[in-house]
């Protein structure tokens, strides 16, 4: 979290989101620099996923400002209220932001290759040959090139999630969002997905990872953020975050519980 530094890729300023009385996001400010890896942890219902989804406009905010490369994006002001931008504008934004879901959300009626080619072909209008080359490259990156012709139903959870990562990468995004990427996996399948994400981090991809997996926080993160009740309580580099000297009692209790 380097505040309003000039090389911030995404800045979220004073985001608020309420479901009735419940505040899912309570005045959250947050920024991600180019190349930074932010891992967001916190108990269930603390607003982690809402924050991540708000960054991709899958969740709308009630107030606040989201800036992408310094520009306010995603919303128009209509009579003092925020209204989601037109879908063309959102589409352009989302092509630059890759998202990986807990439940993979692969398209079951397309092959692995078809899933990865779909974005470039349908959204970016790339030629099929070109898109196929890119897709095979991305599948190679996550070690799934040999499963290109398989349908998702024939893949394991870990394989599905790696394909989902390749699908997002094929759009050549500037930012990757991971929404609990290993939570739906059997424990023995977590490793392969973890590796794929770690490799991506080593390549310098900017990413925000919402997770319960402390491995991400320790090995991948530049910054670990702890959320509770719609607020970011603490955001620090992992060494400091996990160091004994600088822990809020609340965070210590949480860490003790899950580790």
């Amino acid at each position: 979290m380097k505040g309003a530094e000039m090389n911030a890729l995404v800045e979220c300023l004073n985001l608020r989101k309420c479901y009735g009385e419940h505040a899912a996001l309570d005045d959250v400010s947050f920024s991600v620099s180019r190349g930074e890896k932010v891992v967001v942890i916190g108990p269930s219902g603390s607003g982690k996923s809402t924050l991540l989804r708000a960054m991709n406009f899958l969740e709308t905010i009630d107030s606040g400002d989201i800036r992408f490369e310094g520009q306010s994006v995603g919303y128009r002001r209509v009579k003092g209220k925020l209204a989601l931008d037109g879908q063309r504008n959102l589409s352009v934004l989302r092509t630059q932001i890759g998202m990986v879901f807990q439940q993979f959300n692969l398209f079951p009626h397309m092959t692995t290759l078809g899933n990865v080619m779909e974005g470039p072909v349908t959204v970016l209008g790339r030629a099929k040959n070109e898109a196929r080359d890119v897709a095979m490259e991305m599948l190679g990156k996550v070690g799934m090139a040999d499963k290109a012709e398989r349908y998702p139903a024939t893949l394991s959870g870990g394989q599905k999630q790696r394909v989902a990562i390749a699908r997002a990468l094929a759009m050549r995004p500037k930012l990757m969002l991971f929404d609990e990427p290993t939570s739906a996996l059997d424990p023995e399948l977590v490793g392969e997905v973890f590796e794929a994400i770690k490799n991506l981090a080593l390549e310098g991809m900017t990413m925000v990872i919402v997770t319960h997996n402390m491995g991400f926080a320790r090995e991948v993160a530049d910054t670990v953020a702890f959320m509770e009740a719609g607020r970011i309580l603490l955001a620090d580099p992992p060494a400091k975050f996990f160091g004994d000297d600088c822990r809020l009692p609340r965070i210590r209790a949480f860490l003790d519980k899950i580790m």
Partner: protein, 332 residues
């Protein structure tokens, strides 16, 4: 003695001359005997009616007398003689319909059942098949129209735009809430009073088309809503617009789920086309009805049932094949 013999002979001759019956008197005698139940006397009288000498002085009495003989023979179960009597009529009047029908009926009666059925088929099939052709045309048109109409109505129904939602809801409400027969009647007989006159075929296509679009719309809507939310989110996250997401991701996934209920609807459609016979469309049901009312022969109805069954069976088979093919990606 010879004188006496001569006298008696001439007396007999005289009486017979006096009784020298004209065809008219013979006919009258015959009918009187018939009325009194003296069938043999009646037949004797009718048999005596002479054949016309030339076609010009024909009064038709010979024909009716011979036909009476034929009927009386039928009563006696003497079918050979009956046929002979009818043939006598045909010898003079080759186009005599009644005689022909009588011979045909007797021959039909004597045929073995399979041959009788075969002859019936020969007689009914041409009209039934042309009716079936119309049924097939109607079914094909509706199968082409209604999925498109249904998809549009379904998309309107789940749209976030209120001006689309309301009319789509209305169409579904109206066409699912009233009998198809009533809709057809209204379109064909009711619309002319509003200044819109339609040919039976157009009325049938509009009525069936709207009705089936409304039904399919609800099936398609349920299909779309059954696709997990994550699919739409993943599509959006890739940057797809709503339209792209629907076209590439959501709708294709509904195909497999839609096939069984849609096959069901289309099977019902094959049978529902029978309703358009009420707005003077000659399709399979109407053709069978016409045959039945002309010949009072139930074979026409049975044949129509067989043709309907053939259609529905072929349909069921086709849809099973399609279902197996479309769902290929779900195989593990």
């Amino acid at each position: 003695m010879p004188a006496l013999l001569f006298l008696m002979l001439s007396l007999v001759l005289l009486t017979s001359l006096a009784h020298a019956a004209t065809p008219e008197t013979l006919m009258r005698q015959g009918h009187e005997a018939l009325a009194e139940g003296r069938l043999e006397d009646a037949e004797a009288a009718f048999r005596q009616v002479p054949a016309p000498v030339s076609p010009t002085d024909d009064d038709g009495l010979y024909a009716s007398a011979r036909m009476q003989v034929a009927r009386l023979r039928i009563v006696r179960k003497d079918f050979d003689e009956a046929v002979q009597a009818a043939r006598d009529v045909l010898a003079y009047y080759p186009e005599h319909v009644e005689a022909k029908n009588l011979i045909a009926a007797i021959e039909r009666d004597r045929m073995p059942a399979w041959l009788r059925f075969f002859k019936d088929c020969q007689r009914f099939l041409p009209s039934l098949l042309s009716g079936a052709g119309m049924t097939l045309l109607l079914v094909s048109c509706i199968i082409l129209i209604s999925p498109l109409g249904g998809l549009l109505i379904a998309l309107g129904r789940i749209s976030t735009i209120k001006v689309l939602r309301a009319p789509c809801w209305f169409v579904i409400w109206l066409f699912r809430g009233t009998p198809l027969l009533l809709q057809l009647f209204f379109i064909y007989y009711g619309l002319p009073s509003l200044g819109i006159t339609l040919k039976p075929l157009s009325a049938a296509l509009i009525g069936l088309g709207l009705n089936y679009s409304a039904y399919l719309a609800e099936i398609i809507r349920a299909g779309i809503e059954s696709i997990p939310r994550g699919q739409m989110e993943a599509a959006k996250a890739l940057g797809m617009t709503y339209g792209q997401a629907m076209r590439r991701v959501i709708v294709p996934q509904t195909y497999k789920r839609l096939i069984p209920p849609v096959a069901n609807e289309f099977t019902a459609l094959i049978k529902d086309t029978a309703l358009v016979s009420t707005i003077s469309m000659v399709e399979l049901m109407r053709a069978a009805d016409q045959m039945f009312n002309t010949y009072f022969n139930v074979t026409a109805i049975v044949l129509a049932a067989v043709i309907y069954l053939f259609f529905t069976t072929v349909f069921t088979f086709l849809f099973e094949r399609i279902e197996a093919r479309v769902g290929i990606y779900e195989r593990r």
